[in-house]
Symmetry: C2
Subunit: 496 residues, 2 copies
């Protein structure tokens, strides 16, 4: 058997995949299990491993192997895999080691200080650290742009949403910006006339946990290949063969944890549904952050807050928490779809969430491109918050431009993915309804397999075979089209 350069690249990818498995489990454990005094040793161990993985990913021999593999005869799947190997090689090699280290250090300092500065509403104290992080992020964008030929912001965006460009984001966010404020107002006016009963707690943690697990079963989660635990900040980690989801519980309120669990189950199902025969290679991996979010939002919003799905959830809620008037299906649905403009993104509902994302996109893009500076952020934030949601954040940095961990920790170009995900999710369900006109009746009959099969075939098993725009086209028959998201919100929130 001849040993090709492509084979050798695959062998090395498999090795990285296995080492990343250990990083992933150690990271999950750090959030879900680790006692406080273990943190220093864990951080050192993971940093050592991170360095080792970076060393393997930047091995000078790779350049020659990649060049040779390009000359080899590869089938379509191998070709796509080679494209993804090249992408990750470029990403790992585009940045000088000194920049990687400087950014990691600056970001970790800025984020650490931010935890207290935010509490104290201390923008003046925060701004110096943030300026340094942004300076290094601009340098990072410059290196990535040079290596890829993309614009500065697109070079960052492409790390999270391969193939997505800011011209496209401009197009869909520009559309959204036209009708979203009006929709928020219309929904507010409608909901003001619909009184809603509040659920009466307490709701013991053990009952909530059992309810969440039953909801995961209803959604097809495979408990032989994953689990649900607790952490301060819910996430979906682990590896495709062993998905580690987390949630958190509030004894006075069960819906945040339940809907959060349904959200993470979407992420988890995507991972569990990746093609097993490709695992270990980049082509097997989930396509992008936006695509990932499209799965969590397919589960949480498209399906989870669907009036017919609420009917399926209700018996589980009653089973674990007992019955009460607030658990009547129509009331549960009103609770799940309540819209209330607020200053905090992570607490936002489905309708107001995109406003938070547009605001951030309209700040971080010119920030990276050098049209604005860090000192300009608060004034821009306040103006856009008033314009988009009618809320005053002047002087309130804590609940304004200091609320997110992203920028301070060097994560720029990520925010659009949240709303791209919401749009993709709406587009998937629109496509499903075209192909299965009785989809809503099927959901009402509890035949959720129709939804999962569609997502599995069109999204999960496709992995990273296509760049995002092509995957969207193949899955739904058209490119990203914000009209579906608009129609979904109008139908769900205005009954239109």
């Amino acid at each position: 058997m001849s040993h090709t350069a492509y084979d050798e690249l695959c062998r090395r990818q498999l090795r990285l995949h296995r080492l990343n498995h250990l990083q992933s489990i150690a990271g999950w454990d750090q959030s879900a299990n680790m006692p406080s005094k273990g943190n220093e040793a864990r951080s050192e161990a993971m940093a050592e491993m991170g360095g080792l993985i970076h060393q393997l990913a930047t091995d000078p021999q790779l350049k020659d192997l990649l060049a040779r593999a390009e000359q080899e005869q590869l089938d379509e799947v191998q070709g796509a895999n080679l494209r993804e190997i090249q992408r990750s090689w470029r990403a790992a090699n585009a940045l000088p080691q000194a920049l990687v280290e400087a950014k990691s250090l600056a970001a970790s300092r800025c984020e650490h200080a931010w935890r207290e500065q935010r509490q104290r509403n201390d923008w003046a104290g925060h701004v110096d650290g943030l300026r340094e992080v942004v300076r290094l992020a601009r340098e990072e964008a410059r290196h990535l742009a040079e290596a890829s030929g993309l614009s500065l912001y697109d070079a960052l965006l492409d790390q999270y949403e391969p193939g997505m460009r800011s011209t496209e984001v401009d197009r869909v966010f520009g559309d959204l910006r036209q009708w979203l404020p009006g929709l928020i107002q219309a929904v507010g006016a409608k909901q003001a006339k619909e009184p809603t009963l509040e659920p009466q707690g307490p709701f013991p943690k053990s009952a909530q946990r059992a309810l969440g697990e039953d909801a995961m079963r209803l959604l097809g989660f495979d408990f032989e290949a994953g689990r649900l635990d607790e952490s301060a900040h819910p996430f979906c980690g682990g590896v495709p063969e062993d998905v580690r989801m987390t949630t958190r519980y509030r004894v006075d309120s069960f819906l945040p944890s339940l809907m959060g669990t349904i959200h993470e189950t979407g992420h988890g199902s995507y991972e569990q549904g990746l093609r097993r025969d490709w695992l270990g290679q980049p082509i097997a991996q989930a396509r992008s952050m936006g695509l990932h979010e499209s799965q969590s939002l397919s589960f949480e919003m498209q399906l989870g807050s669907h009036p017919a799905f609420v009917e399926l959830l209700r018996p589980l809620i009653v089973k674990h928490l007992g019955d009460q008037p607030a658990f009547e299906s129509a009331n549960l649905h009103r609770l799940m779809t309540r819209v209330q403009p607020g200053t905090i993104r992570v607490d936002a509902d489905e309708v107001t969430y995109p406003a938070h994302v547009i605001l951030r996109y309209e700040i971080e893009r010119p920030l990276i491109e050098g049209q604005i500076e860090v000192d300009d952020i608060p004034a821009l934030w306040d103006a856009k918050m008033m314009e988009l949601l009618g809320l005053d954040t002047r002087g309130n940095y804590k609940d304004g431009c200091m609320q997110d961990v992203h920028w301070g920790s060097g994560l720029i170009g990520y925010f659009p993915c949240y709303t791209l995900g919401a749009m993709y999710a709406a587009q998937w369900f629109a496509a499903m309804r075209r192909e299965m006109p009785d989809l809503d009746q099927r959901i009402a009959r509890g035949e959720l397999g129709a939804v999962f099969d569609w997502l599995r075939e069109r999204i999960w098993t496709q992995g990273s075979r296509w760049e995002t725009p092509e995957l969207v086209q193949r899955a739904s028959g058209e490119t990203l089209n914000p009209a579906h998201f608009r129609a979904h919100l109008q139908s769900r929130y205005l009954g239109a």
Copy 2:
């Protein structure tokens, strides 16, 4: 600052230490958390990492670095650390890679088959696989003996108990063999006249867990640097900064889990008590398997089954499980010290346990040295079981020579450590009583710090500074002396 060869060796050890941290957490997770379908990917990831660690440990540059470091001026602690670095280097380099892989493969096959073969009492099916494992273990012993100048069996034993030799094991086990069968008989006769009340369950898992954690607190376990979870086979894993103990629960019986937890807390306290300023270097590590067992048995047997300690445990038991006649202190103590010869080692009590170990030592040593063959094992087992414990195991391979996982998985030379640990533990408490004549009154007053301080100073913080025999001498003022174990058993079980 000059960079010496010794410094470079330390830097490499630190790297190995950090990578082993990830292996250790992944291994703990595999036992405590991992769902079944995660096993293949986890095993592959850990094998990849194992290979990487082996590669770093056998880097050809190490030979020269070790030679140069030997010429450098080192203080006593550095010298001891260099000795331990050399030890692990020799162990990693003594074996040809092909042998390591062949043994790993044969052992994993043999162990896998053993799980079912044992159920079926199928010695004939087991013997071929075991023969191959023993053949490779003999080869391993030959390589290790060549590298170290030790005899075949001592070369294996030295991996688990550095500095211990079979002449010494012969001496102390020979002593034990003289008086143990008589003692077992005398205890049996005495206990036959002492009726004991059985605790009446059920004992809910959550209550047992809270009881176990309270017992751990009583024993000084630091929950900010470790935790207690569940696994099928209890163990103590993790890392010194973050100790991961496990236990298992039976709803009908709480003492096995409670005493098992106290046992593991001894292992955990040793790890938590290792010198932090040495961590990352071999000198910081726990000395040996026997020493480790001496800590778990110090906690479980010397302290845990001490009549005065039972008085401290009783209120915790009542707090979590309610009161009942069987929880009267004297009855609890009788339950904890009940002696009953049985065929199964892992179920054995403190008094009969050494008979199981002597039996195995007297078989595995001639097996490695070639005086007997695998086919001779059952007859020898049956004869020794009758001689030492008066039990008939003929034809009962399942509860006889097929009961342990050790030999089939290639672990030979390990068994003596269990009983060496019991002897060391008795010796520590004898030394404590010489130095603190009021030790038993202190325990009765709940002043357990006296015990922990002694162990911390003499054992835990010594790490691997000395080879085992010197550590024993320094800690207790004499070499290993089985008289202390005999006196302990006579006092505890015969009131003599």
